[in-house]
């Protein structure tokens, strides 16, 4: 369970011997993610996706991002031909759920890999630097780290940054009905660097 401000996300990792068809007999493993929100995680109740009969575009987009991010920080060959599915379920949401899911998902992944190492199923640690993510944006003209929900929904520019140590894995900045300059982009990157280093410290403590 990761808590960032008032956002609480339950992250678990499940190991399977099977890999997706395109990896069979390649010796490589796979990491994938699924994401969901409880109907009452938000201020007003959301419709349950299982009842609606499909996952919305936002859900699909987020779970692809989580999977891609976690894969960038792991050596799939060293993992061996097995799949780890990371489930991220939002219990309470107050902005930045996708970033909390990536950061907490890495902790779940780290613990699952530790078990494999301890059991001797793998001998080399496939994980590199911790993968962590922060959201930041431009709110009322100012760059702000970790937007909470009221800020997030009014921000003109919204960014998500996924890092693996000093390296970048994913940069997404988007303006809804607005634009931004390259200077502002650099300010947000600086904020992100700072935010991620705090998260990494917490991740290392949780998995020590």
């Amino acid at each position: 369970m990761i808590r960032v401000g008032d956002t609480h996300v339950l992250c678990t990792a499940s190991l399977e011997a099977r890999v997706p068809p395109f990896l069979r007999n390649t010796g490589k493993g796979w990491v994938t993610a699924e994401y969901g929100m409880l109907p009452r995680s938000t201020g007003s109740r959301m419709r349950r996706e299982a009842a609606a009969g499909k996952q919305g575009g936002r859900t699909v987009e987020i779970q692809r991002l989580i999977g891609r991010s976690l894969r960038a920080g792991i050596d799939l060959v060293a993992l061996g031909e097995r799949q780890i599915t990371v489930d991220c379920d939002v219990i309470q949401a107050d902005g930045g759920t996708r970033c909390a899911a990536i950061t907490g998902g890495w902790v779940a992944l780290r613990l699952a890999v530790n078990k494999l190492l301890k059991a001797g199923d793998i001998t080399t640690d496939p994980l590199m630097d911790p993968v962590a993510a922060v959201s930041c944006g431009i709110y009322a003209g100012q760059p702000v780290l970790d937007l909470d929900y009221p800020e997030d929904s009014e921000a003109g520019v919204d960014g998500n940054f996924v890092l693996c140590g000093p390296k970048l894995i994913e940069v997404q900045m988007s303006a809804e009905g607005s634009t931004f300059t390259r200077d502002q982009m650099n300010q947000l990157m600086d904020l992100a660097d700072k935010g991620v280093s705090e998260l990494v410290a917490a991740q290392l403590q949780a998995t020590a």
Copy 2:
């Protein structure tokens, strides 16, 4: 959040001004329920229903039962033309999730109704005796209360009893590939009475 043994269910109640079409302009309210399990609530990971594109038959059956049970313990006219949706999400499952959902769902409903009373939106308390449910079954020839998962999956006869004070709301006993006698049915009913009275004490304490 209700915990019965190792079964943990998160129950919340959401109020809406709208009622289903068949109740519009009748002055009567409605209580409905939705039920879900997190993929990793069970020992081995389950497929996410939102990803499968529909709620399974078991989910639909359970959420109909929860709704029916809670409605039997409330005066819908005194509630007035509003709908309360009770969401029950299983975080961890070890048998008896539907009973835990009903028992915890009533607590969420009680708290939501208390708010309406406090705000003066309704003047008469529409809730009657607490609604609580237990599962029991015949395991290795013996009647047992609160089957945990290993017992549940091997029990020849499986029963769910929903009570509202001394009165019955729902009795379900079913034998998978087996049968039972009327005497056994009465023994299970006795066990259920006993189990429910303990739950009611806990419900009253939680909502005092």
Copy 3:
């Protein structure tokens, strides 16, 4: 075709050599059921489920009940590794369709098993006592057997009882917006015993 009052249900049994995956190479067979209603079987036309794109919760609940009931009255090992699918299609409905489907479904199952015995495909009769079901309820304060549709829709308590000879397979009693006592439950059980013995006589005559 079974007729109980004005309820007419067409029941057929289809034999397949294949069993569901979890039974392959176990030597055990399986009995499953599907249930449907013609759009005009009820007083006012219902929407066709195939057009709606899915089976409703009620349909799923009923076909699970029929399958579970018929399986409780058959020795799946003696049946051998084959599957029998019982289709129950309601041509005309006037209350108690699920009970009529179980009772008629057993007749179809009996005839299908007779063919297997006659052909020498199985040597021991896997069927035990006939499986039959009745609905009863409390209508206008009185316990009543075989509720017809107008009674059914107004009954405060509605029960379905599935028996296999003197033994019980399934007991379901539920109160919609009401409650019942343990005495009333016992009165309904007595009525059910009586109703089932008449149905069994008819089943044995139809399959003699």
Copy 4:
């Protein structure tokens, strides 16, 4: 219930006050049709469309044909702003189910319209000559009327003809992996004329 050879189709007509949106406030009515087959209507059990989650292409094609055919034989203005839905459910199939459905569907429509006339809801009879349909085809080089299932599945050319008295409503001739000449087309038309006149006699008798 119409029986043509071993094909049995249950046809019913249901009246509704509502018409589809494109006809609202035009004073014109509508006739539409739905078609279904019971899983065991054929020699070997078919998958239930409600379980499959959608109506197959063949079902959709057939119900469009039935609706179009019945509409061609009725004056929708004289019917007034009401909709009649004709349900055709195949209980037992041995070839030519779509033609039996049209022919039997007209009988159900005729009876429904008679009720409206008797009740004084409409004053002019909107129905013209009976609408009836036959299938014919070229089997083993010979034009044949009313192909039964074994003939149908081997016929090189398969035709369906819908007539309204001496006039044509629909002609469909198709060759699966084969071709036909214009002479053969005319021979089939002659056969169809003859077949339809017998059906019309039966329709008039059934609705007299």
Copy 5:
């Protein structure tokens, strides 16, 4: 890309080594078709079928017709155990799209087969006479060839004729809310013969 009047259809043929299950190890091949319309191919924008979550009845009907028509003009044994899928996507529509799709689909099929012949994968040409289709109808009392969209939507009788040289593959004539005589049917057939011979000339030129 075929252009008939203002109707433009993009037709492509894709070859696969796999055939449908019912043809495996029979030495026979298969030809199938898929059909789609771009949302803006019509005067006012249509809803995208992928967004609606399913192909409409009209689409399914048309792609079955295209597949059936093309199969009637090819020797599936000479094609050998391979499948050709013909995709017909309507870029701009002004009536007669299904006929344009068949006519253009044959050109794509001819070019794909030519490649197989050139590569020596097959030695006998499996294609017979060109398969071409025209729509005609009765508009304002007059038989008309190649109805454009305004004519088509007001025509009382609408016909599609698929020919393979002098032979017929498919004849479909249907009256929406109207009827026609056998004389009119013959006049339309004459028009169709004439129209198809012009298309065949163009097909042969395009594939020379």
Copy 6:
């Protein structure tokens, strides 16, 4: 129709008087986008999404990006309460289809807005600088503009940049199984600036 290298995308804009519910009576307009690929636009045939029964995650992600990008370059209040839907259909794909769709989509939007201005339906031009997008990535260690498909599928880092004149609308950089540095990010931004200015020249010429 926009052509960038061997990528061809057909873009059209459709105007509707209706806006989505959340904008009704606000005086503001809306721009939305839909995206599709013809099955044969890629080297080997893709499955048709309408046949699969839903739009894939990639399609949903792309059409949300196109809509968001175009909205950032238009004053929705000046557009007035009307909706413009931009359809982008990929006829032939060789990398960078989402960028081509945005760039071509703006041209379609420009032409649609010109019509509104010419007709006097709006008096102020709601469009700002042209919106254009380029993809670039790091391929074999080198930053490259406009990756074609073979480069794209092997690139370690893949970026999409949407600009509106000198301002940024969206920056997406992602590494699949790899990472990148901040320096590399800046090099890609420089390339993007250069690429977009060429596209803008072409856009202005096409809409002059």
